[in-house]
Amino acid sequence: MKIREIEINNFRKFRQPKTISGFSDGLNIVVEPNETGKSTILEALRAALFIRHSAKTELTRSFCPTGDDVAPRVALTFEIDGGIWRLEKQFLRSAAAKLSGPSGRFESDAAEERLQEMFGFERGNNRGTDLETRGPLGLLWVEQTSALKIEAPSARVCDTVRSALEGEIGAILGGRRFEAVRAAVETAYADLRTVKSGRSTGRLQNAEARLAQAKAARASAEEQVQAYESSLTELEMARTRKRLIERDLADPEQKTRRQQLQSDLRLGEDAAIKLTAAQARHDETRAKLTSLEGQLSRIATARTVQATAGAVLAKFSERNEEAEVAHEAAVAIEAELRIALASARAARNKLDRSVRDARTALGVRTRAVAINGARTRLAELEGLEAELKTVEAEAPGALDADAIAELERLDRAVVAARAIASANAVAVNVQIHDETAIRIDGAPAGPGLRPLGGRTVIEIGRHATLTLLPSAADGVSAAAREGAAEDALATTLARHRVNSLADAVSRNELARRAADRVAGIRRQITTLCVAETTIGLDAGPAALKLLVSSLSKVPPPEEDIAASADFAALDAALSAAIDAEQETVGRHEVATEALRQSETETAERRRKIALAERDLETASAQLEQMTAGGVETLETKVLNLREELQRRRNTLGEANTAATTFEVAVIRSRLENMLRADEKARREREDLIATIAGLEATIQRLGPKGLPGVLANAVEEEQATAEGLQRLIEEADMLALLRNTLAKAADDASRTFLGPVTRRAAHYISRIVPGSDLTFDERLSLTSITRGGLTENTDNLSRGTQEQLAVLTRLAFADLLLDRGSPVSLILDDPLVYSDDARLDAMTDILTEASARVQVILLTCRERAFRHLDARRILL
C-alpha cells in the first residue's frame, strides 16, 4: 500500500481544505514549519482509515475544529496491489463514507467493510481476543499514524535496549492512552485495596471502619432500648401484680370465709371441751365400778382361803401328836448311837498309839543291828581288799596269744634247724692222750664225742688249731642255720623277757590263775557290799565305807530294847477296835438318816399348819372388814354403777361425733394459712411499691433520651453504611478485574511481538553501532551490545540511541508486515532529532534502504537535516 494524496477539510487545525499530494513510492519527506499540523495529518489518516464515519464519540467530536459546528472530512488516495483507490469520509454531520477503486464503488457501511477487507482484517475477526489472529497488517496500519509518532525520548525512562524496545512496542500497540488508562485504574484501585496484598485501604478501609462503628452504635442502642423496654414491661407487670394483690387483700369473699372459719373454730373448740368432760365422767364411773367389782371378787377369794385353811388344819390335828413322839424317839436313838461311836473311837485311838510306839522301838533296834552288821562287813571288806592287792601284785604279766604263737614258730624252726644240723653233723670224738689242753671253740673240751656244727675251731694246746668248716653245699652250713634260728628265738624271748617257750607258757598259766583269783575276791566284795535301806546304805564298798565312817561317832547300841514287845497282840487288839468302830459308825449313820427324814417331815408339817393358821386368820380378818357394810349393799352399788356407766358411754359417743364434725386442727391450720397468705401479700405489695418506684425512676431517666428513635436511626445508618461498603467492594472487585485484564493484554502483546520485532531490529542496531554484536537471552531479549570487542552494558541509553531504537522498532514492524505480504507505508513524525551526525547518516542510510521495500513518509520541520537524502520533497 502506498499513499498518493491526502485531502483534509474542517479537521482540527485545518479549517480550510488542504491537499497533500505527490507521494512517491520510496522515500518522501514532508517538510512543514512547526505548528502547521503534522499531528493533525496523522490523526486525519487514522480517521480515514479506521474510524467509522457514523461514530459519534468523543473522538469524532474532537475532529471538529474548536468552536465550529462543521463536518470534518478526510479524503485519501492510495495504491494497493497496483490499483488506485479513493476513500472519502465525512464525520458527525451528514456522515458518509465512499470508497472507489478497481473493483467498484462502495458507500457507507459497505465502504467500511470493504476497507477492512482490503487491510486484512475482516469484520468479526478484527476484534478477537487473540492478537495473533487478527491481522498484524491492520494492526500496524491502524496504529501507525499515532504509534509512529515518536515521543520525545525523555518522556520515558529506558535503561536498557529491551525496555526501550518494549516501550516502543507498547507505544505501537496502545501507546500512551493505554498507559494513562492503566495508571488511572491503578490509582483508583489503590484507593480501595493495596496493590500487593489486596487488603482494604483508603476509602474501602474507611468504609469498613464506618460499618464497624455503625454496628457498634446499633448494638449499643439495641441494648439500651432493650433495657428500657424491659423496664417498661417490668413496671407494667409490677403494677398488675400490685393491683391483683390489693384486690385479693380487699376481697369480701375472703373475709366471709375467714369469719365462717372462726365461728367453726369456736364450735369445734366447745365440742372438744364437752368431749373431754364426758370422757372424764365416763372414766370416773368406770373406775368406781372396777373398784367395787374388785372388792366383791376379793371377798369371794377370802372365803375360799378360809375354807381351805380350815380343812388343812383339821387334817393335821389328828396325827400330829403321834408324829411328834416318833420324832423324839428318832432323836434319842441317834444321840445314843453318837455316844457309842465316840467311845469306840476312843478305844481305837488308844490302840493306835500303842502300836505306833511299839513300831518305833522295833525300828530303832533293827537299825542298830544293821549298823553292827555294816561294821562287821567293813572289816571283812578291808581284809578282802588287802588280799586283792596282794594277788594283783604277785600276778605275772601274761603274753598275748600272738607272742606265744611267734615263740612257738621260732621254737619249731630251731628244732627243725637242729634236726638238719644233726643229720649233717660231724662229730668229733675227743680222746685226750696227754695233757695237752684241747679247746673247742675256746672252751676246754673233755673227752667224748662231740658233734660239731658249723665252723668249729679246735685248739689243741699249742699244737694245733683245727678249724673245721662245715660243708658248704648250699652256701650256708646247717649249723649256721641252726644258729640263726636260735638267735631269732633268743631275740624274741628276750623281747618278751622270758627264757624259753616253756617258761612263757607257764608264765601265762600263772597269770590266768591270778586273774581268776582277783575276780573271785571282787565277787566277794560285791556280795559283801549290798544295800541296806534301813540304815540308808547304798550298794558298793565306797558307800559302806562312807556310812561306817559317819557312824563311827555313834556308839553301837547297848541293848535290844524292843526285843520283848508283842506286836501280834497289839495288832490283833487294834484290828478288833477298828471293826467295833466301823460297826458303830454304820449304825449311827442309819440313825442319823432316820432323824433327818423325821426332821424334814416334821418341819413341813409344822409349816403347813402355820400357813393354814395364818390364811385363816387373814381371811377371817378381811372378811370381817369387808363384809362389815353388808355384801348385799355392795352388789346393789355395782348394779347401779353399771347402769350409770352405760349412760355416760352414750354421752361420750355423742360428744365424740360433735367433736369430729368440727376438726379444730384443720380449721385452725386453714385460718393460719389465710392469715399467712394475707401477710405475705402485704409484704409483696410493699416490695412491689419499691420496685415500681425504682422502675419509674429508670423510665423517667431513659425515656427523654428517645432511645427507640436512636435505635431506628442506628439501624438505618448501619444498613446504609453496609450498602455503601458493598458498593465499594463491588467497585474494588470491578477495578481488580479491569486491572487484571489490562495487565494481561499488555503481557500478551509484549509476548507476541517482542521476539519477532527484536530479531528484525537487531540487524539495524548492528549498523548504527558499527561492529557491535547483539546478544539475546532465552526470551530473545536484547541484553547487551558488544562494541569493538568490548561488551557494553545497554544501561542508560542515550536519548539519541533511544530515539533511534524507536525508529528501528517501527521499521522492524514494517518489515514484519512486508514479510507477511502486506507492505505498509512507514510514516515517521519528525524523527532523529537527537541523533548526532554519524548516527543520523547511519539512520538515513537505513531509511533509504527501507524505502526500496516500503513507502516511507517522513514528516519533519527540519529540512536541513534530511537535505542530503535523495527523496521526494513535499512542502505543505
Binding site: 459519534k56 481476543t129 492512552r177 428500657y228 433520651k705 427507640p708 478485574l737 485484564t741
Partner: protein, 372 residues
C-alpha cells in the same frame, strides 16, 4: 357549626438514617416546621381546634428535644390541640404521653382514654386512642356507647386502616369504613394513611402534612372540616407539605430517553423540593450509559433535594463504543475481553460490564488528554 383542622401522622422524630446528614436535618426540620404552618393556617382560617389523629411521634419514646420542640411550636398557636396516640406512639404507662403531659401547655390535650370530651359548646370529640401496638379489635367500637347530649355534634378521632390491605384478616386496629354511620358521628377524623383520602361523606384521612417516604407520592396535606349538626360536613383538603417524595422507574435505550424523562419530571415538580427514588433499567450503549450516569450524578442529583438511584441499566456495547476505547492494540484487547465476559452471562458478567464502562470512561479521558 364548628370548623376544625384535621391532621395526623406527623411522625416527629423519624430518623431517616439512610440519608446523608444534611438531608436528614432538613427533613427533620421540615416536620417541625409543619406544625408552624398548621398554626399559621388556623390563624389564617380562624380555626380553634386541631385534631391530630395519631402517630404524632414516630415511636413510643422520642427524645426530649423532639417532644419539647413539638410542644413549643404547638404552644405558639391560640388553637386547641386534641391528640390521640396512634400505633407508632401508642399509649402506655410511663411512656411518652406521661412525659408529654408534664410539659404540655394548657391548649394541648392528650385523649388517651376512650371517653367523650366536649371541646366547645355542643361539640364533642369521641377519641379511639390506640392502647396497644397491635390489636385486632376495632378501637372505634366504643364510640357507639359514648353518649353525648342530644343535638350535640359528635366528632370521632381514630387511627387505623379501614381496609385490610394485607387481606389476611389480621390487620391491626382495623376501623370499619361505616363507623360514622354506625356510631352516629358527624365527622370521623382518621389517621394512619399517609395520603389524603375521602372515605365517605363523613369520614376522611387527612394524610401526613409532611410526607416521609417513597411509599406514597401525595403532597403533604391537612383537612379543614366544617362540621354541622344534622348535615354532612364540608371537607376541604389543603396542601401544606414542603417536600415531595417521588418514585420513578425509567426504562432507557439511549441518552435521549433519559433527557426526555428529566424534562418531564422537571415540568411536574419543583425539583429542589423533591426526593426522588429512581429506578433505571433498559439496555444502552456504553457511551450512553456513561453519559446517563454522568448526567445523573453531575446533573439530576444536584438539582433534586435528594436522589436515590437504583441503577439497573444494562450495557450493550456498540462497535462504536469499543472503537472509542481503542480501535486496536492493548486497550482494544482488554475491552474485547471484558465484553466477552459481560456477554457470557456468568458470575462476573455484571462486574465485567461495569469494568468495561470504566475502561470506556478512562480511555476517553486519556484520549481527550491526548488531544490536548
Amino acid at each position: 357549626m364548628i370548623r376544625i383542622l384535621h391532621t395526623a401522622d406527623w411522625h416527629l422524630g423519624k430518623p431517616f438514617g439512610r440519608l446523608p446528614a444534611d438531608i436528614r436535618a432538613a427533613l427533620t426540620e421540615a416536620r417541625f416546621d409543619a406544625i408552624d404552618r398548621l398554626t399559621g393556617l388556623t390563624r389564617h382560617r380562624r380555626i380553634d381546634h386541631v385534631i391530630v389523629a395519631g402517630d404524632m411521634f414516630d415511636n413510643t419514646d422520642p427524645g426530649d428535644r423532639v417532644v419539647i420542640q413539638a410542644l413549643a411550636r404547638m404552644a405558639a398557636g391560640t388553637c386547641h390541640w386534641w391528640l390521640i396516640p396512634g400505633n407508632h406512639d401508642h399509649a402506655r404507662s410511663d411512656g411518652l404521653w406521661a412525659r408529654f403531659r408534664r410539659r404540655a401547655a394548657g391548649n394541648v390535650h392528650v385523649l388517651d382514654r376512650p371517653e367523650p370530651v366536649e371541646i366547645e359548646d355542643g361539640a364533642w370529640v369521641l377519641p379511639a386512642p390506640v392502647q396497644f401496638l397491635r390489636t385486632t379489635d376495632d378501637p372505634t367500637e366504643a364510640m357507639s356507647s359514648m353518649t353525648t347530649p342530644p343535638g350535640a355534634m359528635r366528632i370521632g378521632i381514630a387511627h387505623g386502616p379501614i381496609v385490610d390491605f394485607a387481606a389476611r384478616g389480621e390487620a391491626n386496629n382495623l376501623v370499619p369504613a361505616d363507623r360514622a354511620t354506625r356510631s352516629g358521628l358527624d365527622y370521623l377524623a382518621l389517621g394512619d394513611w399517609h395520603g389524603y383520602q375521602l372515605v365517605n361523606s363523613r369520614t376522611a384521612y387527612s394524610g401526613t402534612p409532611e410526607p416521609d417516604s417513597f411509599m406514597r407520592e401525595d403532597a403533604g396535606a391537612v383537612v379543614v372540616a366544617e362540621v354541622r349538626p344534622g348535615a354532612e360536613p364540608l371537607i376541604e383538603r389543603v396542601d401544606i407539605g414542603r417536600y415531595r417524595w417521588l418514585s420513578r422507574s425509567w426504562s432507557l435505550t439511549k441518552i435521549a430517553d433519559y433527557e426526555h424523562e428529566v424534562r418531564t419530571l422537571a415540568g411536574s415538580v419543583e425539583m429542589t423540593a423533591a426526593l426522588l427514588h429512581l429506578r433505571l433499567d433498559g439496555a444502552v450503549s456504553l457511551a450512553d450509559c456513561a453519559a446517563i450516569r454522568a448526567a445523573l450524578n453531575d446533573g439530576l442529583a444536584h438539582r433534586l433535594r435528594w436522589l436515590s438511584c437504583d441503577d439497573k441499566l444494562m450495557i450493550t456495547p456498540t462497535d462504536d463504543d469499543i472503537a472509542s476505547i481503542d480501535v486496536q492494540g492493548m486497550l482494544a484487547v482488554a475491552s474485547s475481553r471484558l465484553r466477552d465476559i459481560a456477554s457470557s452471562g456468568g458470575a462476573q458478567a455484571e462486574r465485567a460490564s461495569r469494568a468495561l464502562e470504566r475502561l470506556y470512561v478512562e480511555a476517553l479521558r486519556a484520549g481527550s488528554e491526548d488531544a490536548r
